[in-house]
């Protein structure tokens, strides 16, 4: 390793860790300068987290947010060239540190998903009419083997809180925040409408179905997933699962999540 590489490693180690030894030959003037670089490093990352997770910050409060941010910066020092990546993994950090408030981790996940969507590739959604025309002559085999392409970065997960209400309330400083526990978990679908990231709470079974299809599963495999573990399902169960898959497909099309057939 070159002298320059060693010096840069020692310099960065001293920024990341107050307890790291100062590089050899440094005196008080370098130590004073290092204090500035340490402060710059932390404040830049803290600012990015506060900007990306604005609603999470409002929800948990300023001081707890600062503490969880500092913890995240220490445990997840950034490596990539874009500072926005500082938010990677922050939802899990919130989930780990706010164990008694699982909504904090869910809210951070939602904000991170929305942030990723904001700069995702531009795509044109397939309309219900496009889909109807393309599938008009589908036989059983075409339906069974149908795969869907979704808008890049569109995602889904189970959540236990009413984020539609919380998102609105947390949109401004100082608003009343509803304690919005859902009677049962729901699926939070997140995607982009044109240039605007958006989300919607839908039935819980969308989570697995959307995840499977986004991961490349066929329509028949999703119907099998909805039927469940029964090795010999009744015809009514198959019929019910097929109708359920059809309803989900209709919703995904109407909301603009589907961008391609058999990509």
């Amino acid at each position: 390793m070159s002298d320059l590489a060693q010096r840069q490693q020692a310099f960065l180690a001293a920024i990341l860790d107050d307890a790291a030894p100062m590089p050899q030959g440094w005196g008080n003037s370098q130590a004073a300068g290092m204090d500035v670089y340490r402060g710059n490093y932390r404040s830049a990352l803290m600012d990015v987290l506060a900007d990306t997770f604005e609603r999470t910050r409002r929800y948990v409060g300023e001081q707890p947010f600062r503490q969880v941010s500092m913890h995240h910066i220490i445990t997840h020092p950034p490596a990539g060239w874009t500072i926005d990546e500082a938010g990677e993994g922050f939802a899990q950090t919130c989930a780990d540190l706010f164990r008694d408030n699982p909504e904090a981790g869910e809210l951070a996940w939602l904000e991170w998903s929305m942030r990723l969507l904001a700069t995702a590739p531009d795509t044109a959604p397939l309309t219900a009419q496009d889909f109807a025309a393309a599938s008009a002559n589908f036989g059983d085999e075409e339906w069974s083997n149908l795969r869907l392409g979704f808008a890049p970065c569109a995602t889904a997960r189970l959540v236990g809180h009413d984020f539609e209400a919380m998102w609105r309330a947390l949109g401004e400083e100082g608003g009343d925040i509803p304690q919005a526990v859902l009677p049962a978990p729901q699926c939070c679908l997140v995607w982009r409408e044109g240039e605007r990231p958006t989300f919607k709470l839908v039935e819980a079974d969308h989570t697995a179905a959307f995840g499977a299809m986004a991961g490349g599963a066929t329509y028949a495999e999703v119907i099998a997933l909805l039927i469940g573990d029964d090795p010999e399902p009744e015809p009514e169960a198959i019929q019910q699962a097929a109708m359920r898959a059809g309803a989900m497909l209709g919703l995904w099309l109407n909301e603009g999540l589907v961008t391609a057939l058999n990509p």
């Binding site: 320059l4 590489a5 004073a32 300068g33 500035v36 490093y41 490596a79 500072i83 590739p121 531009d122």
Partner: protein, 280 residues
Amino acid sequence: MHDPHAHIAPFDGFGLGLRRVHYDDFLAGGVPVDFVEVISENYMVEGGRQLRILEQIRRDLPVILHGVSMSIGSAGGLDEGHLAALKRLADRIEPLWVSDHLCWTRTSAHNSHDLLPMPLTCEALDAVCANIDRAQEALGRAMLFENPSSYLTFPEDEMSEWEFLTAMTQRTGCYLLLDVNNIYVSSRNHGFDARAYLAGLPLERVRQIHLAGHDPATPERDLIIDTHDRAVADPVWSLYAEAVAMLPQPVATMIERDADIPPLGELLTELDRARALLPA
């Protein structure tokens, strides 16, 4: 195919850094500037509103791509992924030019996302020049590099910063983005003469000037901090007037503001002050 050593023609004008809070002002049109500068990395994305707005503004105004993450001083070389993304953006926007800083930001393991100081050694100069050669080749164009503000110097330094910059331009054919506030900040922090710095530079290679505000020293802190969060200070205006009087060619001058960003009118007033300081 672009030529990585192609001449960059001087551009005579006054501009601002384009920031999100001013998007609507620029989209409405008629802002009295000759160009805008954007932080390249903010637009090195796949799609979305921000990129579309930049393309829209580009139809009316020349755009300069100013990067903060090239890490031209990294001993381990450049990040090819970053270079490729920057090339895609440059091809899309067709900027007036592409710039970054004389600094390093990362090692192979971590990124500080700060503009860290280079030791002013022959070894560092070799590394910087090799990286600039690679960047200019990959982008197919000559680049501008900005003199940094810094808060420490290294015991192993072998030359002054202006000697380093001079050798860098001679060896790579790159150009200079002169940040007058950074010269002032570093001169106060390290005790060198800002006029000697200017006089020691190859001024014919300067194509752009940055002006920004700084946080003065305090009883608790001897160092001046480059903050970009307030108006340009009077001593920096004086140094700017001296610099433009020394330059043998016109340059693009702009106000940089990255925090506590005021309404656009306030920045335009500062820009008028810069215009008024041009030699007759």
